[in-house]
């Protein structure tokens, strides 16, 4: 069985689904079911009376096979992320934490220094730490060395739909990594998810492309198929590129 392994946990699905930006929670839950995702991200927010019924924990927990991966979105320092991680673990019981520290709302680029520091502390606190990072091979290696369970480099900016703009750096990270590399952010289409998997990513995390699609559950299914196709192709072994044509048919029978 070809499973995604994170820490000592195994998943048959390699599509991780984000739950933000859906038009409502019914559509989101339908998309989660359609995607077959077993890891689903959620964020923390303050409780308020008006939105008390928007709770996601209950309905998501009822979907069989789904494990929550809370993120630390909203944190702009390592200390805030560590605090958010502990609160999220208290609430979810999940060992997974997506460390996400982006202090600038204009570009949402992750802060490498605060992310590294938060990851270091959270590994010591017993979390399976999955940091969202820029596609930086040096940082990815350093995070692996301190015990992160995976690294999640961005394909392009969060919510931008610019696809695998960082593919050259991603190739280096994948080649050098001893932990799962999960492309997080920027994917727009199932073909891009397939491409990421063909490159050797262990999984992809998709949110906006599914949430804002015309038919989110159908798009979730399409992404699941893209991820499966890409993974199968990676395992099958892609042909080498050639600078010139190489015939597939005999060229000598009629003319010579």
């Amino acid at each position: 069985m070809d499973s995604l392994q994170i820490g000592s946990y195994y998943f048959s699905s390699r599509l991780i689904l984000g739950t933000g930006k859906f038009s409502n929670s019914t559509v989101m839950l339908d998309a989660v079911r359609a995607s077959g995702a077993q890891l689903v991200t959620v964020a923390l927010r303050r409780f308020n009376r008006e939105q008390a019924e928007d709770d996601l924990f209950g309905p998501l927990s009822e979907i069989e096979g789904v494990t929550l991966m809370p993120n630390t979105s909203g944190a702009s320092t390592a200390a805030e992320a560590v605090r958010a991680a502990h609160i999220a673990r208290e609430l979810s019981g999940s060992p997974f934490i997506k460390v996400e520290i982006h202090p600038n709302p204009q570009h949402l680029m992750p802060d490498p220094i605060e992310t590294f520091e938060a990851a270091r502390i959270l590994v010591q606190d017993g979390f399976l730490v999955m940091p969202y990072i820029a596609a930086d091979p040096v940082l990815a290696k350093r995070l692996e060395e301190i015990g992160c369970a995976s690294v999640m480099p961005l394909g392009s900016a969060i919510g931008s739909g610019q696809g695998l703009a960082t593919s050259e750096m991603l190739n280096i990270i994948i080649r050098e990594s001893g932990i799962p590399v999960i492309v997080d952010a920027g994917l727009r289409s199932p073909s891009e998810a397939a491409h990421a998997m063909e490159m050797g990513c262990e999984a992809v995390l998709v949110n906006s492309a599914i949430a804002v699609a015309g038919d989110p559950p159908a798009m979730a299914e399409a992404f699941a198929e893209g991820v499966k196709a890409g993974r199968k192709a990676f395992r099958a072994g892609l042909m080498q590129r050639s600078g010139s044509a190489i015939a597939t048919s005999p060229l000598t029978f009629l003319g010579s």
Binding site: M28, R46, N71, H86, E90
Partner: protein, 73 residues
């Protein structure tokens, strides 16, 4: 006047919240309309576990945060 009728003020998610003196966290949850099942409670930066909510009393000036999961990527 009985002590129970006295009111205190706490900080709840960054806003002032009046509360009868001698209230526990479970009382606060009832006042704000939460069943408490999917809410994390943090008092003065300490996480309060569900089993402690009926006995953990709140005092004037306590800083309480109630947090829950929302959609996020």
């Amino acid at each position: 006047m009985k002590e129970m009728s006295q009111m205190i003020t706490i900080d709840l998610n960054g806003q002032q919240q009046p509360l009868p003196a001698d209230s526990a966290i479970s009382d606060l949850l009832a006042i704000v309309g939460s069943d408490g099942k999917s809410v994390a409670v943090v008092v003065n930066e300490c996480i309060i576990r569900p089993e402690q909510r009926s006995t953990h009393k709140l005092y004037a000036g306590d800083c309480v945060e109630l947090l829950m999961f929302a959609g996020g990527g």
